[in-house]
């Protein structure tokens, strides 16, 4: 039988045929290349053009980067070491490292203070940025500004403590009376805080800063990238509450308040930051009482805060407008008054929608802090354009310094924007 079978039918497959390998052009990197880079003539041309661009950039920068000199004391020595070859003189970064980061006046043995403040900053903003962390950490966030002020400026610890006590007194009054009437609680809190500051300020003895635990550092001595970071962080955090107030004011149905907010916002958004900085440097001094002089740092903080508050107000206004009318009506029908409705219903939702926009404004603002170099403050760019390039040793080192500045800003800003994108995905509650 078996014999006959084998004879009568020449071949019977008793299993499935093993799959043959795909043609060479349809597998692995070749396929990937064909689909992603050379799918048609236009694409191929684009690919070749892109490769050419990459080659040109790399061929110029790579030898320069790799030949870099890191250990000389001046540009002239760099040139000697390089002997006419292409190469960067990164020695300027190592030699002026501290000046680039802290400015040229911050006392060298006190660098641990801003460093510690930076580390604590990360701890303090972590609970704000990541919602999964225990809420108790927010208590540290509340203390942080005073701690950081004391760390960076030094001097008597009494000043930040009095400031903190003032805020605490305000919060206490608000908690006690704010329940019955928001207005009374709010204004009472302001009065209480000012009372504490006045009394506390009077109690601090003159000259308390002279032999304090931390040596006092005047704000004129701040500089370098530290100054950029400080301006960015301070101004963004100060402008958030101001921005919310302005946004609410602009939506208000009280014509006078609405009018004030609209004029303020449109005015600030209509002029470049640099003119506001000119105001800070050449005009603002005339608007303070004749006996006092307000230092430049504070004047700049005031102007930048106003600037970013206007932009943040517009972002939040967008968030407020995006909320369905039903939310406002629902709050009304629950019998909530305006402050309650805002605090419990409207703002939590509006702020959530606005977060990416606010982060964008924050990144923009952080980048704009470089403009203070124009009004003779020695931030990172100011240090580079001023003392470092003007010195005899490092006259003519542009690329290394500018590249370093660009790199620092890129790392920080790219980090923040990646966070913003993560947050956007995280907060997406709609189903797309």
């Amino acid at each position: 039988m078996s014999d006959q079978k084998t004879n009568s039918i020449a071949f019977v497959a008793d299993g499935t045929i093993p799959p043959s390998p795909p043609p060479a052009g349809e597998t692995g990197p070749v396929k990937w290349l064909r689909e992603n880079l050379f799918s048609n003539a236009v694409n191929s041309a684009l690919t070749i053009a892109a490769l050419l661009v990459i080659y040109v950039i790399l061929s110029k920068t790579l030898p320069w980067l790799l030949n870099g000199v890191w250990t000389t004391n001046s540009l002239a020595e760099c040139r000697e070491v390089l002997q006419g070859k292409t190469g960067a003189c990164f020695s300027v970064l190592t030699e002026r490292w501290n000046q680039l980061l802290y400015g040229f006046k911050y006392p060298g043995d006190q660098y641990w203070r801003p460093n510690l403040a930076l580390v604590l900053l990360l701890v303090a903003i972590a609970p704000v940025l990541f919602f999964d962390l225990p809420r108790k950490l927010l208590a540290f966030t509340a203390i942080y500004p005073f701690l950081a002020f004391w760390l960076i400026w030094g001097g008597t610890i009494l000043a930040p403590i009095v400031a903190l006590l003032g805020f605490a007194a305000g919060a206490f009054v608000f908690q006690t009376y704010g329940k019955s009437s928001f207005a009374i609680g709010f204004f009472g809190a302001i009065v209480a805080a000012f009372a504490v500051w006045l009394i506390g300020g009077a109690l601090i003895p003159d000259g308390a800063s002279d032999n304090a635990m931390l040596q006092a550092v005047p704000s004129r001595d701040l500089g370098g990238f530290m100054l950029n970071l400080m301006l960015g962080v301070t101004c963004v955090s100060l402008s958030l509450p101001l921005g919310i107030a302005l946004a609410l004011g602009r939506q208000s149905d009280m014509p006078l308040i609405k009018w004030i907010c609209v004029v303020f916002i449109e005015f600030v958004r209509g002029v470049p930051l640099i003119t506001l900085l000119f105001v800070a440097s050449v005009m603002l001094a005339y608007f303070f009482p004749p006996e006092s002089t307000v230092d430049l740092f504070l004047r700049v903080v005031i102007m930048i805060t106003m600037f970013s508050a206007a932009y943040i107000a517009e972002v939040i206004r967008g968030g407020l407008a995006a909320l369905p009318k039903g939310q406002y009506e629902a709050a009304d029908s629950l019998g909530l008054d305006y402050p309650q409705a805002m605090r419990l219903i409207i703002l939590p939702q509006a702020l959530k929608i606005s977060i990416p926009g606010i982060v964008n404004v924050a990144v923009g603002l952080f980048k704009d802090t470089t403009l203070v170099s124009v009004i003779s403050m020695f931030d990172l760019v100011g240090m580079i354009r001023g003392p470092i390039l003007a010195s005899t040793e490092w006259n003519g080192v542009y690329w290394e310094l500018l590249g370093f500045a660009a790199l620092l800003f890129f790392v920080v800003c790219y980090g923040i924007s990646q966070y913003s994108q993560w947050l956007e995905r995280r907060l997406a509650t709609d189903h797309r």
Binding site: A76, R79, R96, Q99, F104, K105, Y106, P145, F146, A148, F149, W153, G155, A159, P160, V162, A163, G166, F194, W197, L198, G200, G201, A202, I204, D206, A216, P218, S219, R220, F278, S281, V282, A285, Y286, P290, E291, S292, T293, V294, D295, L296, F297, L298, V301, I302, I375, S376, F378, R385, G386, P387, L389, A390, S391, T392, E393, N395, G396, Y398
Partner: protein, 338 residues
């Protein structure tokens, strides 16, 4: 001070309050620090060194005033100012005096209400060109591109010079000295013009200083000197006579090296009056008797300061020229200490 505490604590920044109305001299004494406006960085005149300490010719004037008033030449807060911010800083009381190679002109003195207390450097605007251009006189610069540092009297002098010689030029305004230098070296401008001292100071930092020439024409008078606010004559006197003391010290042969023995008393009554061994000059100024001694001991006399910061042996390498004592054919002439 109370108000200071509140605002300072609120905004997390120190708010330095000083009673500018009472008289600058009292303010400085009460504060224990002199606020002195300088440039943001010009090697030899005022620039922070690698350790972040300010040094230079203008800086020495600030330090001498601090030594005279407070007895401590390090009690100075240097406030870097740009051409734009310097006058506001002084007018608004942010700084007590400005020592920032500022040219004494009529309008600054009269219209802007400042008081120039003297001249610490006689300068003039010059031109620097690469030698390979083969230019030997500024009048051959027809059609040239000229780099100018903005914010000074230089632009006006330049416009006047070219107009009066009926030749054309193309100005390239530059914000800082370092950028002007970069443009000039890259060939983006043919000529760099600023005060002759600044040219020398800039050329000193070049890779190859010998291939650049400073043209013989000096097209303007640039008397540079410290200035104070108009109307505060006590303070103006202090700054004026501290500067004069440094100039007189050189004329009288008082140096930072021999000042110790000279202060004990010499047979020259003018030196005795200057250094406080005789008379009550210090008291008249409202300072201690050894005010001038402190100033000179800390910084040296005018000649020493000049030699150390911008003299021929320093990297800047300027000759004394007009800035020599009147006894040696220069213009430095201090009124008598009497």
């Amino acid at each position: 001070m109370k108000k200071t505490m509140i605002l300072g604590a609120m905004a997390f920044a120190g708010l330095a309050a000083g009673a500018a109305s009472a008289g600058t001299l009292d303010d400085v004494k009460a504060r224990g620090k002199l606020n002195c406006g300088v440039t943001t960085g010009l090697v030899g005149f005022a620039a922070p060194n690698a350790n972040g300490e300010w040094e230079g010719f203008d800086v020495a004037v600030c330090r001498a005033v601090a030594a005279a008033v407070l007895g401590d030449s390090t009690a100075v807060e240097f406030v870097p100012t740009t051409g734009k911010t310097r006058f506001t800083a002084l007018a608004s009381g942010e700084i007590d005096m400005l020592a920032r190679n500022t040219t004494w002109t009529f309008s600054r003195d009269v219209d802007l209400k400042f008081e120039f207390v003297g001249i610490n450097y006689y300068d003039g605007q010059g031109f620097m060109v690469p030698k390979e251009l083969g230019v030997s006189s500024a009048k051959e610069l027809d059609g040239a591109t000229v780099c100018i540092q903005t914010g000074t009297t230089t632009e006006l002098n330049l416009a006047d010079f070219f107009r009066s010689n009926n030749i054309s030029y193309e100005p390239v305004p530059v914000e800082t000295n370092a950028e002007a230098q970069q443009q000039y070296l890259a060939g983006a401008c043919d000529v760099y013009t600023t005060d002759a001292s600044g040219l020398a100071s800039t050329r000193a930092t070049f890779d190859d200083p010998a291939s650049h020439a400073i043209l013989p024409e000096i097209i303007s008078k640039e008397p540079l000197g410290p200035l104070v606010r108009h109307g505060d004559h006590e303070w103006g006197d202090v700054v004026r006579w501290t500067l004069n003391a440094m100039i007189a010290a050189e004329e009288l042969g008082v140096t930072s090296a021999n000042i110790g023995e000279m202060a004990a008393g010499t047979d020259n009554p003018e030196i005795n009056r200057l250094l406080g061994a005789e008379g009550t000059l210090g008291e008249m100024l409202g300072l201690s008797a050894d005010w001038a001694k402190n100033a000179i001991a800390s910084q040296g006399n005018y000649g020493e300061v000049f030699a150390k910061n911008i003299g021929e042996d320093s990297p800047v390498g300027l000759a004394r020229g007009l800035n020599a004592q009147w006894t040696e054919g220069g213009l430095l002439y201090s009124p008598p200490f009497r």
